[in-house]
Structure formats: C-alpha cells, structure tokens
C-alpha cells in the first residue's frame, strides 16, 4: 500500500466526454433506440401513444415482468440463465393462497410467497452449482417441475382473490400513489436496489467477473458457487413477488399465471444490452428494455395487428437484439 500514497498522481481521473461515452456506449445506444421506437409508435398510432391511458397501462402491467428482468439481468451477466421464473411466479402465489386461506392473513401469505420463491431459486442454484449441470438445462427442467408442482397442489383450479382487497398490504402492493400504480413504484425501488447490488456491491463485482472470465474468478478466489446461488435465489424471490402482484392486480390466481412472461422478460433483458455471453449488462438497459417490450405489445394492438403476432414479434426482437449486441461487441473488442 505504501507506494500508492507517495504523491497525488499526475494522471488525474479526469474523464473526458469521449471516455464517458465509451464506457456507456451500450446504455446510450439503448436510450436512443428507446426514443426512436417511441417516435415510431407515435407516428404510426398517434391516437394511442399521445394519450395518457396507454402510459397508465404500461405502469400497471410492465412491472410484472420488468421486476423479474432485473435479477435475471444479474444472472445472465454472471453467465447463467434462469428459464424457470414463470413457474416460480405461479408457485409463489400458490404459497400465498394456501397460507392466506389457512390463516386469513394477507401479510403472512405474502411472506410465505417470498419464502417459496426464494426456496425455488435456491433449488435451482444448488442443482446448477453442486451437480454441475448448465443452468439452461436445469431451469428448463425446473420450469416443468415447478409448474407441475403448482398444478398438483391446486389440482388445476383457479382462486378468486377479491377478498384480499380489504388488507392494507393490498394497497401497498398494487394500490396507487400519486395517481401511479404501486407496482411501478416497486419497480423503481427494485431497479435502484439492483443497480446498487450490481455496480456498488461485492455481489455485482463478483457476478461481472464470473461472467467475463470464469477461470480468472477461480484463480482469484471469487466465491463462484455462493455468488451464483445468491443470484438464483434473488430471481426466485422476485418472481414470486411479481407473480403475487400480478395475481392481486387481477384478483385471480390461475396455474398458468406466469407462463406468458417467459419471452417478454428475456426480451427485456436482451434488448437492454445484456450480453448472452455474460460479463456485460446494465440495469438501465433492462429498465428501458422492459418498457420497449411493453410498448411493442401495446403497439402491436394499436397499429391494428392481432394478438397472434406477439409471439412472432418477441422472437424476432430477441434474435435481432442479441445479434446486434454480439456484432457490436465483436466490432469493438479489437
């Protein structure tokens, strides 16, 4: 340490504008893409995109998958993937329903939903790290496992959740504040928290290194297993949380609750510039990516296409964004 304190260095960390632009190129790119897409929608469907209603709808529904996209971003940065979160969304609500029915307490049910989500994530993490199977394969398996568990536990039935409305927690989770749905505020809180974890915490530092160079992480003594498990647990927690918000919003639980969220969530992460190869990604990108995906969903309907196009367009969006980022990364790597 002694050699560092001899004198203030001649090289002052005065970052020029170009250096700043270089380190945030990907986030600037996604911001520009976001604004362009917005402009396109306004031009194509001015009636829809110039009214406030569509933005109220975005604030209501986008958080359901954006909340999961946040921890998923960290998982993908660390070089893993989790495809089981849609099933954890459903399974978490099963946990909520069972405890709420038994105790009559929305609060206890809420906590139990988070516990179930966390345990499901822990299961993913343990199998991935201790058995040593690629997370892609493990979480395809657990996607079916958790979904199957959900169906068996509720016997395939749906549950009405209207009675939760009287609970103060209902207002906190999916009520409104300043005229904006609470789930949007939760998304803002979760985004800030994820940003701190990713950029200002050991967890994020280690996640980046593991995703960039697994061998280096091993040589430099980074707790690889613990970090990967933690990220899976966080994803499970958030999936259960988002699943519960969704169920409360529509006053209904049905076993296929989470299944529609697989593609939009992945699309949000990849559109946001997170690298499929790991080691690169940002919370800001995922945040904007989620609203771009939300906008595309609404836009498909607004410009007069039927709902059947959504799968087609999500698939195309994922492939195009992943390809663009892969090409850009290769171009700037040398």
């Amino acid at each position: 340490m002694t050699e560092t304190t001899i004198r203030p260095s001649a090289v002052v960390a005065r970052q020029s504008l170009s250096a700043w632009a270089a380190s945030f190129a990907s986030q600037i790119g996604i911001t520009i893409a976001f604004l362009l897409l917005w402009l396109v929608f306004i031009v194509l469907a001015p009636g829809t995109f110039l009214s406030g209603n569509i933005y109220a709808a975005f604030a209501t529904t986008t958080p359901f998958f954006a909340l999961v996209a946040l921890p998923l971003t960290m998982v993908i940065i660390s070089g893993d993937i989790d495809l089981s979160f849609p099933s954890i969304m459903s399974l978490g609500v099963v946990g909520f329903v069972s405890v709420w029915k038994a105790t009559g307490s929305v609060e206890v049910g809420f906590v139990w939903a988070l516990v179930v989500g966390g345990l499901a994530g822990l299961f993913n993490g343990l199998v991935v790290t201790f058995v040593g199977i690629p997370s892609l394969v493990v979480t395809i398996g657990t996607q079916f496992l958790f979904q199957g568990l959900t169906l068996v536990l509720v016997n395939g039935r749906s549950f009405a959740l209207v009675d939760t409305r009287t609970s103060p927690l209902y207002e906190i989770l999916v009520g409104r504040a300043l005229g904006i749905p609470m789930q949007f505020w939760w998304l803002v809180v979760a985004s800030v928290a994820t940003w701190v974890l990713l950029n200002r915490h050991r967890l994020g530092q280690n996640a980046y290194v593991i995703g960039d160079n697994r061998q280096a992480a091993q040589l430099m003594g980074i707790p690889i297993r613990r970090t990967r498990i933690t990220l899976f647990v966080l994803t499970g927690l958030m999936a259960a949380f988002a699943g519960l918000l969704n169920a409360l919003q529509i006053f209904n639980f049905y076993p296929a609750l989470g299944s529609g969220y697989l593609l939009p969530t992945l699309a949000a992460v990849f559109v946001g510039g997170t690298s499929v190869f790991g080691g690169r990604g940002s919370v800001w990108g995922t945040f904007l990516g989620a609203f771009m995906i939300g906008g595309i969903t609404a836009g498909i309907v607004a410009v007069g296409l039927t709902d059947y196009y959504t799968g087609l367009i999500y698939g195309a969006v994922i492939l195009i964004s992943v390809s663009i980022h892969a090409v850009l990364q290769r171009r700037f790597a040398r």
């Binding site: 001899i6 001649a10 960390a13 250096a19 160079n213 280096a216 040589l219 430099m220 003594g221």
Partner: protein
C-alpha cells in the same frame, strides 16, 4: 503471520534463525485428476529473497503445482508449509492473506471490466454491508497506473476496459495487481509469453527487484534463457516428478541445456548428475514429523 519461532535463543540474533527457514515449502505433494497422477511426491522449498525457476515441458505438472501453492487445487498427499507452519486446507483467499500472489498473465483478467475492477478482483474494498468503496479503488488504481504501471497515456483511466490494452500493458496490470497487496511470495506463471523483447527485459528487471526487496519468487517458463538469467535455482519438473534442482551458481547455461535435453529424452539423470545436484533430502520432512511426535 504469528509462526512459532524455533529456539528461544535465536530471538536475540534475529535473522540467522529466520533466514534458515524456508518462506515456502512443499513436502511430498501428490495430486491426480481423474485417475491420472499429475504430481508425484514433489518437494520444493523457496527461501526468503530467493528466485526459483520452474522449468518443464507441457504436462510436466508446472501449472498444477502452482495451483496447489495458490490454493486453487488441494493436494491429495503432502503439505504446504508457509514460514514454518503447515497450512491446512489452503484455498485462494487463505493463500492471498498469507502473501502468496500470482501473476497469472492475461488469463486472470476480465476483459470487459474496467482496470479498477481488475486490480481489486477477488477482494474489493467494501464496507461491512458489502458496499464497494469505488472512489477509493479508483484513486488507488489511478496512482498505481502512474507510478507502477507506467501508463501515461491520457486515454487510459481507471474506467478503461482491459480489452483495449496491449500485451505489455496487461502484463503490467497483472504484476501491479500482485504487488499492490504486499506479497511475500510472487509466482509468475509464464510471464514472458507474448511479450516483446523490451517488455521481457522490463519484466526480468522486475524479478530482480523482487529479490532485492527480500521477497521470494517462483518463475515458471518454457524459456530456459529467461529463467537462467534471474533464478537462483532451477527446478526441473518432468512427468510430475522433480527431475532435478540446479543452483545456477554451480551450472552454466550450456551445462543445464545439455542436462535438459537428456531429461527430455531419457526422463532421468545419470548418477553423477544426481550427486552434483541439490536434491532436497526427503529426510527433512520426516525429521520435522518426528520432532512433532
């Protein structure tokens, strides 16, 4: 490092007792991977202020040996002794806290991350909640860049990603990373690979500096010319065994090269050569074990 100093009387004189004690010692290390024995009864010692060269062909077990010293792998048999104390369950954080640092070349850099995150890889400065002290890490990196790495280009900041650095710059980063944390034993794993002549010269000078500072080094290389010029002793590994241990003061480069050729073809030395060499007497380890019992 509160190791039990041997005899009490030695404390008055101080250095003689400690100078005799190896800083790092490997005793009868064996290691296999999937049934293949990679290291077989390997013993090695490094004294304070000593630079030990480690030579051997691909597959001789050099990198496995290094990974055992640095705690990446654990040996099946044998023990690692640091400053006279047996280190049980040596893992990477333990090795680093003891002051064993490794320059792993660019293999241990994260390309897409900024310089400061690479310098502090594996042990970032953080508070009790795990929140990073990024300002401090950037400042230390800035200072290291100016003073130790010789990075003077204004285009390089602590936030520059490693991906754009040259081979020499990466080397500088890897070395500075090892040095910043006050290492006592510095392991250089193939440090001259991919370096220009001038960069190699700089590196060899740096190794001289390690010795001058009273620190120890293990220098692994394919290139006998590089190793011979800086090492006090050269240990030759062959197919997982120590094939020879040559003090460079007693062997000329030509002699060594002849011996190396012979090892490569026959895998062994003549009796006469064995007699001249400083092969570590295995009795040493047995003696210590006996004393404890």
């Amino acid at each position: 490092m509160a190791e039990p100093r041997p005899p009490v009387g030695a404390s008055a004189a101080g250095e003689p007792a400690t100078a005799r004690q190896p800083r790092l010692e490997l005793r009868h290390i064996s290691k296999s991977f999937g049934g293949v024995r990679v290291l077989h009864d390997v013993s090695l010692r490094v004294m304070p202020g000593e630079v030990v060269g480690l030579l051997g062909d691909n597959g001789a077990g050099k990198s496995t040996l290094i990974k055992i010293v640095t705690g990446v792998h654990q040996p099946e048999e044998g023990e690692v002794v640091f400053e006279g104390e047996v280190v049980a369950n040596l893992d990477v954080p333990t090795a680093r806290s003891l002051g064993i640092e490794t320059v792993f070349q660019e293999r241990a850099l994260a390309d897409q991350l900024p310089l400061w995150r690479n310098i502090f890889m594996g042990r970032p400065l953080s508070n009790r909640l795990g929140l990073l002290r990024t300002g401090e890490m950037r400042k230390v990196t800035t200072d290291l860049m100016g003073e130790s790495m010789g990075f003077t280009s204004a285009a390089l900041t602590p936030d520059t990603n490693v991906v754009g650095l040259s081979g020499g710059e990466r080397q500088g980063l890897a070395i500075v990373r090892a040095l910043h944390f006050e290492a006592d034993v510095i392991i250089l794993d193939e440090p001259t690979m991919g370096l220009s002549l001038k960069e190699t010269e700089k590196l060899l000078k740096f190794v001289e500096g390690i010795r001058a500072a009273g620190k120890s080094a293990i220098f692994i290389d394919h290139n006998i010319f590089h190793v011979y010029s800086v090492a006090d002793r050269i240990v030759v590994l062959d197919r997982g065994r120590v094939a020879g241990d040559f003090p460079t003061s007693r062997y000329s480069l030509e002699e060594l090269m002849g011996i190396m050729r012979e090892v490569a073809s026959s895998g062994r030395f003549t009796e006469a050569e064995r007699y001249r060499m400083d092969i570590i007497p295995p009795a040493d380890g047995a003696e210590a074990a006996g004393a404890e019992a």
